[in-house]
Subunit: 152 residues, 2 copies
């Protein structure tokens, strides 16, 4: 078992009743003892936030297959083949825009984490994270807004 002490918590107006994607801003509030550990992060345009999806009902963690977003027109696939909340370890990952950093606070845009989510790690996003020739399943292209705009 791996035990992780959160670096801080997400402060956001985004919550369970607000849909799938957060286009708004949120604040990552780190424990003040980590302020110095953030020095220089403001030079990146994007960061990766790894958080704990603390609101997921523990019973849902045993589910192995789902239809992505509950869509009837999507196939039944393994939970680890999706980016959904339902998974054995409810770890969330978002690549977000870094808006501003002040001391132990980072304002970001596009974070799909509910208010109060424990922050496990923060990493800068760099060129190694930008992959070329990315292939995704047909169902992904069908049900994602981004898939629709790239295809057809």
């Amino acid at each position: 078992m791996v035990s992780i002490e959160p670096l801080g918590y997400v402060r956001s107006e985004f919550d369970e009743d607000k849909g799938d994607r957060n286009e708004g801003q949120a604040v990552l509030e780190l424990n003040p003892r980590y302020s110095e550990a953030l020095d220089g992060i403001e030079e990146y345009s994007h960061i990766i936030v790894i958080f704990w999806m603390h609101k997921l009902d523990i019973k849902l963690r045993t589910i192995l297959k789902i239809r992505p977003r509950g869509r009837e027109d999507a196939p039944l696939v393994g939970v680890l083949a999706t980016r959904g909340k339902i998974r054995p370890n409810p770890i969330g990952l978002s690549v977000v825009e870094l808006v501003e950093r002040r001391g132990n606070l980072i304002k970001v845009k596009g974070l799909d984490a509910y208010d109060g989510s424990p922050i496990l790690d923060i990493k800068p996003y760099d060129y190694y994270d930008v992959k070329e020739g990315v292939r995704v399943p047909e169902w992904w292209l069908k049900i994602s807004r981004k898939g629709q705009s790239r295809c057809c």
Copy 2:
């Protein structure tokens, strides 16, 4: 405190004495009870592996600032502004090529995780992870092979 039961372990020839980047292949060996949870992941070209850097000396976790890769020509920056091992929570993240999946085993290419690393989560990489207009610090461009090939 967040407690996480690993999904499985990394099997790799990559280890502490093998440098910074692994260009070779590795196998993600998940607990067989998660085999079904992987169904459909083979339709993606890339996946994100979130792992625990189990070999990091616990004393190094209190360090707040470092010179990236120990380079004298890099500035002293906060550990959370780097992708290095030294950080409060030694969570590793690699975007890797998916080579093959068989049951509970996934063969990947480019995983910077040492042999035996506990796997915390696996996520498919999709178009939302490909960001445009990415900005990184000057020092990153200077010390990274990828930075050198894009700039100057």
